[in-house]
Symmetry: D2
Subunit: 315 residues, 4 copies
Amino acid sequence: MKQDSIRPLLDQICTHMGNEQDRGAVASYIPELACIDPAHFAMSVCLPDGTQISVGDAKIEFSIQSVSKVFTLAIALGRHGDHFWTRVGREPSTHVFNSVQELEARDGIPPNPFVNAGAIATTDCLLVGATPKETLAEIVQFMRLAASDDAIFIDPDVASSEKETGHRNWALAHFLRSCGNLRHECELTLGTYFHHCALAMTAEQLARAGRFLAGIHPAGNLIAPGHIRSINALMMTCGHYNGSGEFAYRVGIPAKSGVGGGILAVLPNRASIAVWSPGLDRYGNSLLGTQALEILSQELCLSMFSVAPGMASQG
Amino acid sequence: MKQDSIRPLLDQICTHMGNEQDRGAVASYIPELACIDPAHFAMSVCLPDGTQISVGDAKIEFSIQSVSKVFTLAIALGRHGDHFWTRVGREPSTHVFNSVQELEARDGIPPNPFVNAGAIATTDCLLVGATPKETLAEIVQFMRLAASDDAIFIDPDVASSEKETGHRNWALAHFLRSCGNLRHECELTLGTYFHHCALAMTAEQLARAGRFLAGIHPAGNLIAPGHIRSINALMMTCGHYNGSGEFAYRVGIPAKSGVGGGILAVLPNRASIAVWSPGLDRYGNSLLGTQALEILSQELCLSMFSVAPGMASQG
Amino acid sequence: MKQDSIRPLLDQICTHMGNEQDRGAVASYIPELACIDPAHFAMSVCLPDGTQISVGDAKIEFSIQSVSKVFTLAIALGRHGDHFWTRVGREPSTHVFNSVQELEARDGIPPNPFVNAGAIATTDCLLVGATPKETLAEIVQFMRLAASDDAIFIDPDVASSEKETGHRNWALAHFLRSCGNLRHECELTLGTYFHHCALAMTAEQLARAGRFLAGIHPAGNLIAPGHIRSINALMMTCGHYNGSGEFAYRVGIPAKSGVGGGILAVLPNRASIAVWSPGLDRYGNSLLGTQALEILSQELCLSMFSVAPGMASQG
Amino acid sequence: MKQDSIRPLLDQICTHMGNEQDRGAVASYIPELACIDPAHFAMSVCLPDGTQISVGDAKIEFSIQSVSKVFTLAIALGRHGDHFWTRVGREPSTHVFNSVQELEARDGIPPNPFVNAGAIATTDCLLVGATPKETLAEIVQFMRLAASDDAIFIDPDVASSEKETGHRNWALAHFLRSCGNLRHECELTLGTYFHHCALAMTAEQLARAGRFLAGIHPAGNLIAPGHIRSINALMMTCGHYNGSGEFAYRVGIPAKSGVGGGILAVLPNRASIAVWSPGLDRYGNSLLGTQALEILSQELCLSMFSVAPGMASQG
């Protein structure tokens, strides 16, 4: 990826998205998300040479929500290693992101760490030997280090709204606990979970935070390369819930979405990309964010599954 | 990938696999597969420069079975384009490869072209405007062109055994037909399906046949680059049935397995790899074949999800 | 039940049903059923004293379809005794009557003998030691004896239409066979099944055929009283597919419906009742037939679950 | 049923059950239930003439648990009438009694009032316009009236143990709430639910409490006869969770079980029967309690589905 070719393309995408009429539906289950203006759009790209190119509202904070699951997984793998996988699976899901059904069918082992049940179990792992406050401090600290930005914070209003109204997540937590797959009280684990989902970040910060997964963080490897590979693989097969196959087909880059409209996409050795547009598709993934990544991927041949044009067309 | 570093590694893997005690269980539902010696092991790698490196029983034919679904998909996409996707989905499955359950839950639209139901619908697409004989001729012709080898043939005994005993596939075909998602008589479509699954190929032939998906076929692009990208993406998310997430995690290369013990793995722009070991794991994928690919991927850092070691460890 | 009170009530119900606008949808999957006039309505009641009271089109034949499952179960229990239950369960179903999903979830053991899968397995039991022709002769013979009428016959056009178009049933048969729960070729078993479903009977004949289940057949017990009890219990919990709970709630009489619009209802020691109206509800049960039975049950306090009005209101 | 023939039979059953080795497994999820001696057995029968015949530990209290759902349903139907059915279905379930899966598949409408989800929704209905304390007072009052015994009480230790450990029920409550099918805070509804499940009663008291459903309460009808019919129908099709079909087949009497080992069986116009044996079968129903009812039903021809022996054998 050449810096020169990226900026005009990002500008073009940003203009295109600004004119798009069908912007999806903003998440409405808590007032803090429901009131977000669906007109927002931002995109930011970090390259191996340290440059960062951004367009749109890339300096406006949004709730990263489920994108935070990538970072809690990184910390959990670092702390528990392969033992982590005794509690969470590594397979895509076919039901909605907050399905209890799938959890019951699997006897309390979530299919993967990126559906809600799996992320709650991941958070529970982080609480081993640490208080919620310490755990959240560690997560925020990790985010700040990853993003090279000490200004990152958790939005307490979002966290407490989730706690009030997140009945589906409470159902998941109690179900996990009934299966012996939650070591701490639901209040503790969910309280922590709701807080890290409430991390407020800009697209610029998020793109920088993803650099370590692309192996292009200026401070080198924040976590073991083997864990980076694991996380990227899971983002490819499970990063967009039951729309993951479709995302791999259309975009072809490991990525994780959040219900706040953010998506973090990671191209190993080449780029870390963040996109934000608050309106969601029927799977709960950013509608325009996905479109933007699809255009970027197509125009620059970024899909991992592409063959080099020159080679394929030489016949 | 350097040719020099590959041969010793392949030799080492071949020796290792020869000594492995737990070889999985050979498919037993038809006598032609049940009688295969589980001691077989073969691996073959085709590189962009035209070289091919093989070890083990790489010149012994085996039944490629579901690996053929990659090639019928290639032909179907070529003929029907995006219209093909009105009949088959693009999402991973969570049930066994021959599940009717999943098909019923999706109102007769198979989750993807690589589970049996999806592949039967794909074969049905190929029969539009062509007889089974013509369709099979086209498939064989495509395989021979892809593998640069006119000796490839269909094993009639395997095909007729499948027809006799493949009651689960008959159930799938009738179910598809009851939903209006099979245009031809079950006998026609399944007859054709059983025959292309009965293609007999060596690991060498299979590796060569996969070159066009890696964009390294000597004759250039056999199909549109966009379709290559689609097929590779689907192999990554759906190529190993309900064990696809696990395969992506462990190996990180788009690949498709068959119940005959073969796996075709495709690394865009870099390599086409075939492996064969008849014993299967609980998902119906080659047990040692998967292990062999995992070792190869790890040793040569082939996983698409890896970051360059130098970069990640520079910190 | 007094004969004198029944006739006026049946007349009243018949008039009421004649005026009903919403008559449900006639089964449309085969032409022989699709062409039936939804205006038909018939009801017939057999009492212990040998009298039979009928209204409406009670002398017009209709295809009894799944009502035949009651009679094949009676014969199968007589021949195989409790051993029969190794192949079929005794629990209600929650999916549609021809669901493969439920069968797969239960590893090939149908939930009960009254869903299609269970009835196909029942027919398969009848074929042990007998040809399809002999089995059908036995079934017809049993029906004639039960109904005291030698004119009962199988409609060959209905049977052959089913064979052509019954892809869901073919899917079920092949699935059963793939699980080892079908001893004969699908063609044999399904051929027999389609034929006994194609029995053509009048409401008068059907009511008489049900007398042995009420213990009021003039020739005494055609089958063991224990088997009568079993069949009646199953009709109560499973006789209306996934609408069985609703039927028990509204009508409270063991009964079995058929897609031809017939229902046989059995009140032990008191009455055998047949009703026919071709239009179906969303579960595949006769819409007006159910309403007619509900009115009859309410007016005469026939629900097994009723308390005697005098007793309950004495307080 | 003749009083004279019942006592010796009950004595015989009691002796038989005392000698039974396989007594099932006592519920172990709360200490109060886990410590119950599985040797207990009691049976009590109330007849229309006002007599009551009891054997075994019929004066020892046990936790009636889910048997209480029959009584809360009676009160809820009395208060809300048919409007009640907008929130709960009337169909049998095929999953375990505390399944969330089934609730999710039905979009938050429990299949029937006797699985946990349905009973929680029923309790929520009772809280409309009343505090938990008032609601519990009403329930206890109803039980005392039904049982003609003012000594009936709620065991606070059982209630509070449930509250601590009943994570599956918390999951159900939160799931219901997330679907808008719980009007009150989970704490309020579940608190009330856990308390009425903790009603402590003897077999004698329970048999008397069931008289109104048999229409043989000395004070006449406590609720509308139409509601009695509804409740009895639901006990037949749904009273034993996913073992209801089997119970109807073996016993043939409307009945409701509880995880404390109690079963209330109601034979309209003829008898109200309570049985208690703490060991459970795999569905969570009393193992010996079911056997005892099966013997009683067989010996006295009590199954609703039986034909009179004289009639059936007269041929």
